[in-house]
């Protein structure tokens, strides 16, 4: 039975799962959950995802939610096919890949998702932007990306000199940040800009952007 991904085409977490499926040449079926209609909060959905969020996967009856665990599972299960080295097994290389994934989850995601919420999702829902919060988030993201600039001046990717899942994890929200006109966070920093271009010009990511539409 082919892997089923229950998600939303524009959801960043859903897109990360599809991105890894494409990198690893894993066939999948993306089943759209209608977030606008609140389908993700219905009992039929929360039965599988107790937090009522997208995505979750059904891999031949094995249910898993949270995008980072899903991609780790898929990377381990299909280690021998597709792009290699996204989740290294050598202890120190693995530790560096985990460090990169942790940096993305703690230093990038909260600030970028907050900025995108203030600039796009809140107005879309008829709420006004909290300018003070937006300013704070931008200041924090600038500090974090200054550290990225230092790291990426010494090594090609966040986890070392090869690309790992920690780099890929930045693509969905980073792309959204560009879409809301905040691309300067990347372009103003030469090392970050170089890295960002490498990550987002991957054919698998281009395919995600082309395919994950309504």
């Amino acid at each position: 039975m082919v892997l089923k991904i229950y998600g939303f085409p524009f959801s960043t977490a859903t897109r990360l799962v599809v991105f890894v499926c494409k990198e690893k040449q894993i066939p999948y079926e993306l089943i759209t959950i209608d977030l606008f209609k609140g389908e993700h909060k219905q009992p039929a959905y929360t039965k599988f995802h107790p937090f009522g969020q997208v995505p979750y996967i059904d891999d031949d009856g094995f249910i898993l939610f949270e995008s980072r665990p899903i991609v780790r599972y898929l990377l381990k299960k299909h280690a021998s096919q597709g792009t290699q080295g996204l989740l290294p097994t050598d202890p120190q290389a693995e530790a560096r890949a985990e460090q990169a994934l942790s940096i993305e989850a703690s230093s990038f995601d909260p600030n970028v998702s907050g900025i995108v919420a203030e600039l796009y999702f809140k107005p879309q829902r008829g709420l006004s932007t909290d300018e003070a919060n937006l300013a704070r988030l931008k200041e924090t993201l600038n500090e974090k990306l200054d550290a990225y600039e230092v790291i990426l001046g010494k090594q090609k990717f966040l986890g070392g000199d090869s690309i790992t899942v920690g780099d890929l994890a930045h693509a969905p929200y980073g792309t959204l940040l560009e879409t809301v006109g905040q691309g300067e966070f990347f372009t103003s920093r030469p090392n970050v800009a170089r890295w960002w271009k490498e990550v987002t010009s991957r054919p698998a990511w281009e395919a995600v952007k082309a395919e994950c539409v309504l």
Partner: protein
């Protein structure tokens, strides 16, 4: 020469690494970083941790890394044969562990750290509590814990039926909030059962009041 843990005695992230080291009986040397004096923002420090945060570790052979959850994973993998298997080996069991670890990161950490900031730390640094933000965080955290209660009614721990790093990751901030009188655990039977279980572990008892 033992593993060096650079951190702050009561820092939640430092304690997250320390409890893992204790679980695995790994000897370590704790080297305090003067956060109050801004040591973590000096070039000598940021050369080791570019984000200017604690903790980071340095091993015998010079290997060093930061990010508390990544450090804990490295320790758990390196000492997999000692004590409890804090990261399962089986593919599906490890996936459920990862799910639990991700739940902690996205459905717990943002709320507990925000609540700790508004209700405790901001005053310590001469700031004022943002009441609206604190209210909003508490409301969302409560709905998250309702989901925790469902999950913990179906499995013993947040990462499956055995203790894993995912449970340990919850300890520091949960304790900070209880320490300032924010108890959202006792009223939820399965969460209460789980919280009592993980906090009674000798590894946590040994360091819960700081290093």
């Amino acid at each position: 020469m033992v593993l060096k843990l650079y951190g702050y005695p009561t820092s939640t992230c430092t304690l997250r690494v320390a409890v893992t080291l204790k679980e695995k009986n790994v000897p370590f040397e704790f080297i305090p970083v003067d956060l109050v004096g801004g040591q973590h923002k000096t070039p000598a420090f940021t050369a080791n941790q570019p984000f200017g945060q604690v903790p980071y570790i340095v091993e015998d052979d010079g290997f060093q890394m930061y990010e508390s959850r990544a450090i804990a994973r490295y320790i758990a993998a390196k000492y997999a044969g000692v004590g409890e298997q804090l990261i399962p080996k089986d593919l599906r069991e490890s996936a459920i562990f990862e799910q639990g670890a991700s739940i902690e990161l996205t459905d717990y950490e943002p709320f507990v750290s925000g609540l700790a900031w508004e209700n405790k730390f901001t005053q310590m640094y001469g700031g004022t509590k943002d009441e609206k933000r604190a209210e909003s965080l508490l409301a969302t955290w409560r709905s998250k814990l309702d989901a925790y209660d469902k999950i913990l009614g179906q499995q013993k721990y947040i990462g499956g039926n055995k203790i894993t790093l995912a449970d340990l990751f919850h300890l520091p901030y949960g304790s900070v909030l209880l320490g300032i009188g924010i108890d959202e655990f006792s009223s939820r039977p399965n969460v209460a059962r789980w919280w009592n279980d993980i906090t009674s572990r000798p590894s946590w008892q040994a360091i819960k009041d700081g290093l």
